[in-house]
Amino acid sequence: MSDIRRISTNRWWHKKNSWIFFGIFLFLVFVRISKGSIYKDFYYFISKPFWPGQFQKEVILNSIEQESLIKVDLLKKDNIRLREILSLQESYNNDNISAAVISRKTGSWWRQIILNKGSRDGVKIGSTVVGPGGLLGRVKNTSLFTSSVRLLTSPESKLGVWVDRIQVNGLLVGSGDDYPNLVIYSKDADIKVGDFVSSSPASTLLPPNIPIGIVKSVEEPLQAKKMAKVVLLAKPHVIDWVQILKVKFNE
């Protein structure tokens, strides 16, 4: 009896160490089959803080950002100085008014938005209104608490604009739909689909270089002028907040 008992306690599966070795073996098999993915992933996480590229990239990006900001600031100052010398309209200044759109008529015969800032807040008739994307229109009318903005799409809107690629001035005329017409008084103007349209640097009504839109289609020349449809970058039918630029008009 005692012999039998001794044999049974000596079986390998009754030993703890055997199971530990078996477990390690299984794990190594798994590691082999998975081609070391666990190790690689583990290494990825523990080595992450010591990567040279990551930290370096952040430092470089910060430097680039700072450099760009300083450059923009210097260019702004330069621009203001040169514009003063040339007696042109002042460009952007930081004295803007944020306003919410409280009424919106972007379809039908009337193309206007009403803002929740009026003459009480210093809004003046003729001020430029910009939204995310670029120019929306100009303030046509103010009350004590509100101001009405005539959109670029209104048939009454006519603005001087600048086509940067071909360095030509044109006239942006609202046509009552969502795409105002760009009229260029030159039959040979090489205007193409995709050309960028901004406010004219020589404009006396608007601050210069405000993005307006992109040429969508070009029509055949007619009576010494060329016409194109423009897609506006700022979409008045979805914009809820706008900026009113306080513009100092030249006397």
Binding site: S103, R104, K105, T106, G107, S108, W109, W110, Q112, I114, K140, N141, S148, R150, S154, P155, E156, V173, S175, G176, D177, D178, N181, V183, L222, Q223, M227, H237
Partner: protein, 177 residues
């Protein structure tokens, strides 16, 4: 207070028209265009009170709506006055209860009349070579407005007519003049 409000319900709704006009709820629109709201009030008012009242309140509506919109290209007064006269004459020529769908037809035609007058005024004021630029959007505006006005009129006009008739006696009619 309640009685006071009921008696002047038509005038209260009249005051609300420019607000709805400015509100311009996009979800009610079609191609970004709204129904021509003033006609929904003018039709029942003129049918109850006649052409003279129609002219006067058409003029009032036109003045208010011209004031809240920026366009100096055109005025809404001529269209609303004409509609006021016409809607008033519907009452004179027909004692029959006008069916719901006829409201739609009448308002759609009124909207067509107003839209065409707006369009003609724009064309006349901008008489130049660029006229054809506004032609297609103009026609599109008129058609969308006619469609929407005709669609909503049976719902709104019949309810307003019922309300005005029940809350406004013949004596009140002259009071507003």
């Amino acid at each position: 207070m309640n009685k006071f409000l009921k008696k002047r319900l038509s005038i209260i709704i009249f005051i609300l028209i420019p607000i709805i006009f400015l509100w311009h709820p996009n979800w009610l629109g079609f191609l970004g265009i709204q129904p021509y709201w003033p006609l929904f009030w003018l039709l029942p008012w003129s049918m109850i009170n006649g052409s003279i009242n129609g002219i006067i309140f058409g003029l009032f509506l036109g003045l208010i709506l011209d004031a809240v919109t920026l366009d100096s290209n055109f005025s809404q007064i001529p269209g609303l006055i004409l509609c006021g006269v016409w809607f008033g004459r519907i009452k004179i020529h027909s004692d029959l209860l006008v069916g719901h769908f006829r409201y739609g037809l009448i308002c759609a035609f009124g909207s067509f009349l107003c839209g065409t007058l707006h369009f003609l005024q724009i064309l006349f004021n901008n008489f130049s070579n660029n006229n054809f630029l506004v032609f297609i959007p103009g026609v599109q505006n008129i058609l969308a407005e006619v469609f929407l006005t005709g669609l909503f009129a049976p719902l709104i006009c019949s309810q307003l007519l019922r309300l005005f008739k029940s809350f406004m006696g013949e004596k009140q009619d002259n009071k507003f003049l």
